[in-house]
Symmetry: C2
Subunit: 206 residues, 2 copies
Amino acid sequence: MKSIAENTINRLIVYKKELGRLLKDSVSNVYSHKLAQLSGFPSHLVRRDLMNVGYYGSPAHGYKVNELEKCISDFLCTPDYVRVILIGVGNLGRAILDYCNQQNPKISIIAAFDSDKNKVNKIYHGIYTFHIGSVQNYIKENDIKVAIITVPGSEAQKIASEIVESGVNGIVNFTPVRLQLPDDVYIENLDMMLGLEKVVYFVDGG
Amino acid sequence: MKSIAENTINRLIVYKKELGRLLKDSVSNVYSHKLAQLSGFPSHLVRRDLMNVGYYGSPAHGYKVNELEKCISDFLCTPDYVRVILIGVGNLGRAILDYCNQQNPKISIIAAFDSDKNKVNKIYHGIYTFHIGSVQNYIKENDIKVAIITVPGSEAQKIASEIVESGVNGIVNFTPVRLQLPDDVYIENLDMMLGLEKVVYFVDGG
DNA sequence: TTTGAATTGTGAAAATAATCACAATGTGAA
DNA sequence: TTCACATTGTGATTATTTTCACAATTCAAA
């Protein structure tokens, strides 16, 4: 498998989403310039990226929206169906439950976990909440590979270590803690404060 | 102002946070290797980054935690106090209100806005919620430059255009919509689904 | 059929970022 | 004082990413 830059992956995911939207609007063809405008990246970068995934358009009609969408999806090898769990059903966790399952039919949050007894056995946005104590068994029995962590920072490292031990090797980490985990675990840190600080930097400083 | 790569800024923000934590633990000195381990970046990159901000440690004692923290803060020129508003008081908006104001004393969310009359005039996590109709005036009167958008995707573009027109030039966009705005507006897109898709890619695809 | 306009695909160049390797520095022990 | 050690700071190198520039392609219209 040829190695593709992380930035390229980011952009492909954005293209894919925009293509999905075009598809919904029954747009059948799109030019690199249009895709560039929609995604916010320059058009030559769009073309370069599409080269990487191996899709070829035509100079006359640009790219076929449905084919390209399919092609990027295949490339990202979003498999038929990925099952994900969410740990920590606070405000943020519930927001994610609400949001995620309406966005991508191929990636589903299939269970939630929390330590609060008032939340356990409840259903939030269609997802059943189990007690955190059962998470390791759940991961093993259902062969879960990806988890979203939205617990308080103080608990993040402990839980992360446990789920990795049980077989998880991809984590979306919404806590402000930098998790210390084996190198083969892919961690995507989505600390919201970081995004805000960056904006403040580029607005005031730069 | 010399131009610093966005990636460097990202890392600096992470260092700053880890330094803050060390400071709390009364650690007075830190070596690049330690900072590397905490932040997850290689140590030579840490040293290179610190070169960029112009802080110099000593081979014997590494870096002084308090000085370095101060130096990075100054470099990021997080000014004395930045006032930010949040638009859209749903699950996600409330989670952010809860989370942000306890993280960085120099950046505060000072007001929230929503169109739902049941939320207007309420206080969530200490922040007063105004009706969305008043947001343009509020921005002008209080000279707001940065906003967090957590409204439904369908409303995002309209609101973004309005607030930019009123003077905002930095946006943290939590909606899945790619906002079309003038080039001088800095936009940080934090689409949560994107993070999840990325993890799925790197876990399953390789 | 030929021309013209728009767009793609891509080699090559430029710009940017990350890594390496090591001299310089300071410290503590002998 | 001298030596050994660990660490910093940085020039040089390597690798990666982005941009440029233009030939090749396709179609519609004359």
